[in-house]
Amino acid sequence: MSKVNLSQTMMGINFENPVLTASGTYGFGTEYNEIIDVSKLGGIVSKGLTLESRKGNPGVRLKETPSGLLNCIGLENPGVEKFITDYLPKMIKLNTKIIANISGNTLDDYKLIAEKLDLNEINALEVNISCPNVKAGGMAFGTDAKMVEKVTNTVKSATSLPVIVKLSPNVTDITEMALAAESGGADGLALINTLLGMSVDINRQKPSLGNVFGGLSGPAIKPVALRMVWQVFQKVNIPIIGLGGISKWEDAVEFMLAGASLVMVGTSNFSNPLAPLEIIEGIEKYCEKNNLSSVSDLIGLAQKGE
């Protein structure tokens, strides 16, 4: 038996290990359960939910780029009601922590959806204020500190669940947004969402994506994500969930050393569905090798003495 304690209690939740899967890249968890034992994950974040169901964007939604992926799904989802009736019951059976990712066009949307999801079966809410793929609201919330604080506050007031605010990287100063979320009452921060990017189809002489712009994810963005975790760790007192391009255990360790308490695997699930499990194993071995008795000893270790 390993001597490394992989579990941590954070925001009142006891995570059995620090590796979760990211919103929009894991459906509602059941699909990947056919391939791997998802109960071994630290947790699963649902696809982004909105009040009403959404059809998502028309046209091409995906474009691969060097070590990256552009997407403009546009928050296609069944809506919060259907999530609760049709999807949540199946998610619960997966026997891991469940985080519901929520989006809205207005403050009121956020309030209503948070209220509806104030359920015992859900472990936390992740507030997406940063989706670049919806016309109204979305990113605007995530790039204005005052709005970040307001949205956070609105959700906090509407739920008894711990609230994680997921920040947009498309800002001049990420620490400003992080501090705003913290003063809005956030229990934790998730960073980062995708970078805004695009691709041009030189055959059609048109943007490759139906929505022109898309969100860039994958290993390409890891250096930016890591920098933001590092910067934010120096400023806030709430835990940070690090994500953006994590594909190997080494990446996850980098994020934790930079200040992340938990990490999430997104795009890499597509390339290698085993990635999250391999990462848990790798983190454990790394701790053993470095004589760390608990995974929490890693958090922010590389910041010591800086």
């Binding site: 391939i35 059809k55 998502g56 028309p58 995906l62 474009k63 997407n71 799904i73 296609e76 597509f270």
Partner: protein, 257 residues
Amino acid sequence: MKLITAKVINQVKIAKDQFVLRLYCPDIVLAAKPGQFITLKIHEQPLLRRPFSIHYIDKEKGYLEIFYQVVGRTTKDLSNLSEDADVSLLGPLGNGFTLKENSKALLIGGGLGQAPLRFLATELKLLNTEVEVLLGARHEEGLKNLECFMDQTGNIHCATEDGSKGVKGFVTEVLPDIIKEFKPDIIYTCGPIPMLKAIKEIATKSQILCQISLEKTMACGIGVCLGCTCKSKNDEKYPKVCIDGPVFWAEGVDIDE
């Protein structure tokens, strides 16, 4: 659906840049149906897994074959694999063709759209369905794999754009005549968009059932990323090629881009 590391059994070069790769993966083979596909990955780069139709399977020997053309990085790397090399395989994926028994089926493949038709032809024959095959390509080089249909049918029609083999022109030019003679109950087709569009039109006019296999850039291949959409009459949802397809009833899908 399984994720496994499959070993290369062997690889045969069929024509310029076209190969048939045989992979040992008994668990996937057991579950596979014609029209389904697998996704594979060899190296860290490129990022995403790549989808390929299941071309042929041998349940007893536990292998499947893919028939592919070298077009970019993954297919280039594939073509360099030799015996015993490892390939990460996820599959079988997608819905597959609806198999009609005791009937007459016309299988139409354009370019690499031939790939899923061999497995289909084999299974149809087991169901006592009579099979004819119509294949199109730019040049006869693209039709070198047609012999793989020989066991299932004696009747293989060909069209090439440059007339180097079979009729000169597109498959759609000979299609009306074949329909008239063979009188198929159902058409199964896979290939380039303009071909699929034209076939859908002809099938609709002739009131013949028609199933179309589509291709689309995929990230997950299992329905979670919601990226591989196509259009349909259904206003509520964009169908996903990876799970609602790749095979669609012609009338159920808009072939537009």
